[in-house]
Amino acid sequence: MKRKNKIPKVRNKIFIPVLLVIFWIIFSLIFIKTINYSLLTYEDYFRKLTVPSLDRIHVGEKIKGEFMAKENNLAILLIKFYDAKSKNPNPNHILNFRIKEKKSNKWFYEHGYNIGQIEGTLMYPFGFNSIPNSKGKTYEFEIDSNTSDNDNYVSLKANATVISGYYFSKAELLHNPSILINFIEKKIIFSVISINFILRSLIFLMPLILFIFWKILTSKIAKERQVMALVTFIAIAIDILIIRENILGVVISICIAWIISIYILKIGSKISLLIGLFFVLLGFTSMILLPDLNIFKINQWSYFFLVVFAMQILFEEKYDLSKFSTPKEFIKAIFGKND
């Protein structure tokens, strides 16, 4: 009898979560296009980067950078620009990129890129012919621009992300098992487990998130339930302050978390309305006083809470769900003593 009772517990606590984790990993690896199976990439935290002007790269100025290659076959340098604007696209608006080994006098590669191409990209890939024996060598690169007006420019921050990429051909990997093992190991460590990858893969983590939410929903522990609302706000704060991209998985996860919070904590529509109002006011504040805040994320969450409010008042018309309909009750529910 005892063994029979254990089966659902094992299924609920181990089997289903493991299955969903496997689903997450496999689907992320298959569908996330950022993974290149011939390329190893390393974010270079110890690189040197000299940025003369923070607002934009002015004509005549040079961005200078230096990094050490981690592998052989250096073939690409991905640089995260802070902003790139090309309001009047013109093929003559050029951003020049050049790279060489530090001790060399001659540039190994030099090319001009149209600024219009850079606009809208988060990490711009500067590709060149792969350098076979690059490992351990220090490389220098330079970036300058022939255009810098209010409508057409590129800007880079001193703490910009610089990623070096190393190309391994399929033939090379298949014929040299040691290189292949090394490649897989590094790929997993440096590429797959990156913030960008994890955020993008969140969409495939949805079944697991929903499962966890379901478990919380059906849990009898009040504390776990209250944490839901708090976690939602922390996640929104992270989304606004840290994640610059729009990542569907993140947005959907937070939306679901709030909707479940409403359901389990019986949060009234007025609370969603007030949170919406808070974000709207935050939006105006950031427009006037805090331009560095991500206005479009604030805009997104303002709208989300307005929609939730609209849905809630319709729902409340049909069902009496409100328990914590005033801010006081709500705050008490989250931070106060458990039932």
């Binding site: 427009m287 018309e317 049909k318």
Partner: protein
Amino acid sequence: MIIELIKKHKFKIFNILLAIFFLALPYILFKGKYYIGGDDTRLEYIFPWEYFKYTSFPVWQHFSALGSFRTTQFLVPFLLIWSLFDIILNSKLILGYLAFSLPMLLGFFTFRLMLKEFLRDDNNKYFIEIIIGALIFIFSPIIAINQIFLFLSTIWLMPLIPFLTYCFFKYIRTENKIYIAYAVIVATIFSLGLFSIPWVLGYIIPLFLGMIIFTLFVKNDNKIKFIKKSIQYIIPVSLSQIFWAFPLLMTSVGNQSSNFVSSSVFSKSAADTFTPVVNATAVGNIFYPLINLFHRQITFDFDWQLRFLFKNFYDKTLLINFIYLLILFIGFYYFKKNLNKDRQKIFLFLITSFVISLYLNTVNIGPLRDLFISLGGIPGVVMFRNFYDKFAMGYVMIFASVLTFCLVVIKNKLKSYKIILILLLIVIGVNAIKLGDIINAPLWTTQSTGRNINIPTEYLNFMKDVEKKVSPSNYIFSVPFGTGLYTVIKDTDSNSVYMGTSPVILFTGVNDFSGWYSFQLYSIVSNTINKYIIDRNYIDLRKILYSYNINYIILTKNIPPQVKKSWVYEDKLLKTQDQEFIENLTNRKLAESKNGNYVLYEMKDKNKLINGQGVEYQKINDIKFKIYIKNLKGKMDLSFNEPFHGGWKLFLQKDTNKDWCVSMVNAVTNECKSVHKFIEGDEIGYFFDKSVGVNSHNIYNKFANKWTIDSTEIKQNFSSKYFKLNSDGSIDLEMVLYFVPQSYFYSASIVSIFVFITAIIFIIYKFYKHEKKK
């Protein structure tokens, strides 16, 4: 006594004062000049009859462009009524100003009607809140930018949409069919607004989606009844619009359609631009619309004049607009205890629609932006690529309705509501002050060129000369040839200009080609013409102009320098349209205006509209020509230099004669003097009649029409009444060249007229019955 009288009639007095204000507004804003120009020209409000005659009645149209099958019949009822006003008022200026005031004036009153119905305020309890709601709508800075500044025919949706909404909800509530009759009559008169389908949908879509969501949540046993009554309302109103909707549908089915709706809804080029346009313009946020302001970022990204208004005014007064936000959130927060159950339901429906409308008007909301872009794949959605424009009016209407409900909540909840009302009125007033700056903004891409003019007498007299010297079957090339299909008419006493679609056809009945878009269906022709002008390749340029039957040139000499540098003219193209250009293309000067600012030249090579051996013809109107062929033996080719369309057909006439050709245009041409007639009575018959040379109707000269007329075939297939046999065995033929799709308009009009007359009779009957009861 007086005070008592005022108290008794305070609502009426208030209405009269507001009406006076709206009527006086254009006199203050435009200071005696016409508010004309742009794509729609707005000349229909000043010259309604001319507009009706040349551009609205026929379905084959020219308006500074190649002929095409287009539908502008939606203007017909309005233009006929406006022509009557023209006769009564006998002043073009008053007529023009009335056209400016009327959408706002009527919009204000119909919006109030709508709000009154939403609130079920039969006792005028919320009179002030409703007034303020209507003021928020009319004086919204979004409406000022989106509608009043552009003043396209969509402006008539301002009164029309609220009125139709009012009639709809009133009918649903009372089941009194008189509201359907009212809706039919008003929809027919203002059909020029309803043609603006994307803007209408911009209002209906959020409401429709809101209604669906609302009905999912709210208990209502009368859903079937509601749907049934909705259908009862929609069918007659739709039938009242069939007179323009049916030809419009046919233009989309047929070839070479160029009407706005079909080209923007179905064309591949429009579909291809959907994603780039949305990507470029979805840069706003929900914050500005929430405080009743237009998306700020768009104005800066596209260098609109409005950006200066943001910098100099809206940015500085931003905080006062927070009153909208305050009212909105107080209303949302307290509505449950301060609205009765009926009002609560309508408010819930409006809030749902408001949230949807806010998204559609903004788009740039996280992942919802990508959702909107992916919706572009659905046929028809492409018409919403300018979402910030198409959904704007609908958004403001819903926003103002929601705010009115919020004001009612505040009135019931807060004792200090009067302070909020006064503050709100001040904010509306402060924003309204800037209406003039928005409307009178300088011409786009110029620094200070005004847009309000009095059409110079010099120009009007010159047009009279053109009308006398050029027969309507010829075309004119307007120089400078620009990038749009615009012409520039400079004001006499200022540097302001009319810049809009060239109005030559309105004043002369002769079509002109004024720019690149004049050949929009054949853009390759426009590009070639541009190239030949820039390269000074006069020989080939003359050939191409000849092939399009362009036999005259009008030269405008007084274009202000700022305008020459504006977006209307391409610098390279403008430079080569000089004296050398004129000398190489023209033969002689035919007329010159009094001050020498406008000159008419005759081209070196002159073509004819209809060509064929022994052919004489007469233009009746743009869709009908009479043709006489003398001594036809065997086969002959007949060419017609209008763009090819299968709708052009030749019909043989009984009792062949040439009585209609009283005199020739001149001794050289084969053209009889034109006698303009709208309709001769035989037109609908052509829809069923057998035509000549159907199988030989082909494209000629890459764009025009050509038929082969075979005398043997005619003798075999038609009775002898249809031709005159000459002694040498040849035959004389009298034919009518007719654009058959015009019959779509006639046949559909019968349905619309029937519905319209039925509605009038029904109202009279109801009125009579009501009086009898009394």
